[in-house]
Assembly symmetry: C2
Homo-oligomer: 242 residues x 2
Amino acid sequence: MTVRQDVHSDDIPVLCQSCEARHRGVCGALDPDQLVALARSSSKHKVEPGAELMGDAEAIHSYSNVLSGVVKLTKTLSDGRQQIVGLQFAPDFLGRPLKAENVISAEAATAVSLCSFPKVTIERMMKESPGFERRLFSQALSELDEARGWMVTLGRKTASEKVATFLLMIARNIDPTRDPAVNFAAFDLPLTRADIADFLGLTIETVSRQLTRLRTDDVIRIENNRHVTVENLSRLERRSGA
Amino acid sequence: MTVRQDVHSDDIPVLCQSCEARHRGVCGALDPDQLVALARSSSKHKVEPGAELMGDAEAIHSYSNVLSGVVKLTKTLSDGRQQIVGLQFAPDFLGRPLKAENVISAEAATAVSLCSFPKVTIERMMKESPGFERRLFSQALSELDEARGWMVTLGRKTASEKVATFLLMIARNIDPTRDPAVNFAAFDLPLTRADIADFLGLTIETVSRQLTRLRTDDVIRIENNRHVTVENLSRLERRSGA
DNA sequence: AGCCAGCCTTGATCTCGGTCAATGCCGTAT
DNA sequence: ATACGGCATTGACCGAGATCAAGGCTGGCT
């Protein structure tokens, strides 16, 4: 019986199966013993769209892997204006290492399943396993690159470029059949129009108008307000403002 | 003779004296032997405002500590629209670990002095000294927090809130006499109006108009286009949109 | 089926910030 | 001292996107 089988046996929680399969998963860097220890302390949850993550005192002391669904990271000004500052897709890691406080709040955008670990366990593994810390470091740097990319979109792109850029990003992250060589994408939007507006620094109405324009220009099709089909990705790219 | 004296003796380059003195410096986490090795491979430069850093093939293979001055990190769209995605103040660390390519370019905003290290040396020390990697990790996370903070400013604040927010950030980073308890600040702007515009997602003219408004409302004084005095910081904070 | 609530779309109008253009200021070189 | 070049300010006007205000789908409920 191998350790991997141990990890996935019934008497201990399953350790985020996606971790070792996909690029940004965070557990692949652990050795078998650590993997078992981490799995023993882990717990899986499902939460509904709209649920506040890391909100209660409990969650503030834990980290999670996103197993499925989309989590939005938001910041809110005192008068209620809101900005989404990041989206976490499976198998991203959720939580802010090396600091207790967090001015960012996390909320489930869709139905989300999570695998949570106690903060102390993760922090011990960071110390014990340099590869694990490296992995977290690497994810933080990717998130930094992404955040800076969105700064350009927020600061310098027009409304229609913003919406096109957003759709391309979603296609890259969600479309299950996504193949970069192929000029086609289809996916369910994980965000409402209000969320998209909060992500792009626009209003609901502007997002809606830009989507209809893309629709009437035959760049995309939308069914049931959620399901988007991009027949011609390169035309969408041309509208995203490079 | 102590190692520290070695490091600062004349026959090898001085190792970023600021590193151990100020909070975000990156060399404080090294042990004495490593400090000497790093210092031996380091080289100091002074560059003029406007100089492209990391532009040439040489610089792409090195990391630097910013010893003085301000470096702007920019991203540019294909049609020339530009966005400043970060500012590095002394003693920040400059360079993108764990990845060869960098889509961000760095430029001296003011006169800048740098202490550069070969990429390979830094990467070896990251492996050898967990505290050093932790320090870089920690800076990356701070930069991520900052970037996300600016996303809110770019996406959700008005022009006048943006300018107020910018001035407060500069005061926090530059004002040599800065004391958080005191309701006053004075500093030289490290950026031109064009740079401020590229940072805030505005035009030169709007930046200028907002600065004159702050001036006529007696929130700030400006001498010689560069030197800013904030007599009443909390009034500026009230205009920054929380 | 029919109703209701929550999103989403569409239209009319307004406004903030962008654009275009002229002028002013300051530091440097002649 | 003057002239020049680069940055900054100011004004007049315009337009992209916000705001305000109706409706329209759609999915869940009785």
